[in-house]
Amino acid sequence: MSLTLWNPESRSAPPRRSGMDDPGSEGRFGRFGGRFVPESLVPACEELERGFREAWADPAFRAALNQTLALYAGRPTPVTPAARLSAELGVTLLLKREDLAHTGSHKINNVIGQALLARRMGKTHLLAETGAGQHGVATATAGALLGLDVTVFMGERDMERQQLNVFRMELLGARVVGVSSGSRTLKDACNEALRNWVGAVDDAHYCIGSVLGPHPYPWMVREFQRVIGEEARGQCADLLTHGVPDVVVACVGGGSNAAGVFAGFVDTSARLVGVEPEGGAAVTFGQPGVLHGFQSYVLQDESGQILEATSISAGLDYPGVGPEHAHLADTGRASYVTMSDDEAVAAVSRLARTEGILPALESAHAVAWVLRAAGTADLPSGSTVLVNLSGRGDKDADQLARLM
């Protein structure tokens, strides 16, 4: 057996500065991450890693990305002090307003990055999976902007639940393919997108919607979302006496909005809190496993079959979690908590009534944590807390109307 397989020296040693750095050529975040894909996809992943490394080091690419984010997607998004809710809770609550980004959530940051990269690499076609449809809509949008064909895979059950977003994607010129296998939800859409990518690697880029998938995706998507944290860091410095908030909190589905905002504060004193939905809490209730190309915490039964997540918020309905979050949980740099469906719904109306901001059900999980923790040892009175408000709630209005 050749030594390269075993020799740890042969692995590129990533620089370790803040804990959210380059995961090296093997895409490892501690014991998590990696590249668990069929051999046929390995060259495509390697090509993508090379393409991303080159682009990320190229000032021209960075400039084009920043310009598109500014002129098209509405960046920077503001940080809004939530004055009335802060007064009610006895803490200083700041909201990073990703709900104001184009298409209504942080998902646009990632897809513009990936779509520009795909075009630079000569790809003509974007493949995407979607659960609620937010990432599908964002990908369809970026495809329209850059003249790339878009195919979105979506579980048939999700298509029934999210008809409006299916229509939005089609309006934007994307093809939506229903997935009838397995549980007919997001995880099955991911499987189907990966299967299709195997047969289309020459022309197609698989535009993954969160910090998931084989290396380099978890790292690349975090880098494309890092803009949230970097902006917020500067904005907090202007707004807060101490410059950084005591706590930074974000909801965690796959974990991309959380990874983006955490990346801006991981080297500060801020506590990082990820909020998982009770029905899809991979860090809290999962075991180490392999799903969709990476090692992380995964909801599964005792023989390794993947379990379905069941959250009220379709965007958090994923049985795994990005590998970097699994690692941040292991090291203790971030902590992960869960919120129930009811707490999330209550947080939607509380924020809407006190601040005139209707948050996405996903983002409401992060707000819900503040509502629960304020005034306790977790978030003592007088604390400062930054919530990443990952998206707006218009998409959830129908669902909420039926619930309330």
Binding site: V37, P38, E39, V42, S181, R195
Partner: protein
């Protein structure tokens, strides 16, 4: 590294001039799934690939997805299926095909030890590529399980060389850039994968994915040492064909492969 028993067995048959045939069955797809394996052995299978069903089979097309779903909805588990294999006396060497999570969940050492205990010779994991087998190859080696690696049409020359060197039992050549599943014609890429592998190794090279008919088996075997046939057989099982009928299907492929190729 010296050849393990599976490789020795396949080499022996190959060197005697035989084109190798490895049919597949999804464990637990029906209550009498082992009878399909026995029928394959009787029909002249050189080894048999048994799929342990996984909920999220990333590299499988519709047919094997459906077979896996059926097995899982019957309530089977990997542990239970391996238990059934214990003492089953199928009549040909057995190779387990399953996804990484099934193995990691059980623990690679435990899993490989269990495979050896129930008489399994080899293991294939389609979502654990060469770079990630570290930790698994040690466990397999210690248990005497031959870990088969896959090579694809897109595999670069340097990777192909390492895969050919590290694969045990045989080398699994994937014919096509795609999932498992029947196809009207054998992919053009099939021949080149086989030819490139055979230049690198004397280990048996078996081609799989999309080999559906006796004629396609003969075509694929022309550049390789043999074939793996899965979806075409599993479609028949799903349609309700009996073990005896599947035995006849495998025999037809066997006989086509046994016709001396001029």
């Amino acid at each position: 590294m010296t050849a393990g028993p599976l490789e020795a067995h396949l080499r022996g048959r190959r060197d005697a001039g035989r084109a190798l045939l490895v049919p597949y069955v999804t464990g637990g797809v029906t209550a009498d799934w082992l009878d399909y394996a026995r029928a394959y052995a009787k029909a002249g299978a050189d080894a048999i690939e048994i799929g342990l069903p996984f909920s999220d089979p990333m590299l499988d097309g519709g047919t094997i997805q459906e077979a896996s779903d059926r097995a899982l909805s019957r309530g089977v588990t990997p542990g239970g299926l391996l238990e059934e294999l214990s003492g089953a006396n199928v009549g040909a060497p057995l190779i387990i095909m399953t996804y990484g999570n099934v193995v990691y969940r059980a623990g690679p050492e435990e899993f490989c030890k269990r495979l050896a205990e129930v008489g399994v010779a080899g293991l294939i994991m389609p979502d654990v590529p060469y770079d990630e087998v570290r930790g698994l190859s040690g466990a397999a080696l210690a248990a005497g399980i031959e870990l088969v690696l896959l090579a694809a049409p897109s595999t670069t020359a340097s990777r192909l060389e390492r895969i050919a060197a590290e694969s045990r039992g045989f080398v699994y050549g994937v014919t096509v850039m795609g999932t498992t599943g029947e196809r009207g014609a054998l992919a053009e890429s099939a021949g080149s994968v086989a030819v490139r592998l055979r230049e690198l190794t004397t280990k048996p090279v078996l081609m799989g994915f999309g080999i559906s008919t006796p004629a396609q088996a003969v075509e694929a075997a022309a550049h390789a040492d043999g074939v793996i046939v899965a979806s075409a057989l599993m479609r028949r099982v799903i349609e309700g064909a009996t073990p005896a009928e599947l035995g006849a299907d495998v025999l037809a492929i066997r006989q086509a492969l046994d016709v001396p190729q001029g």
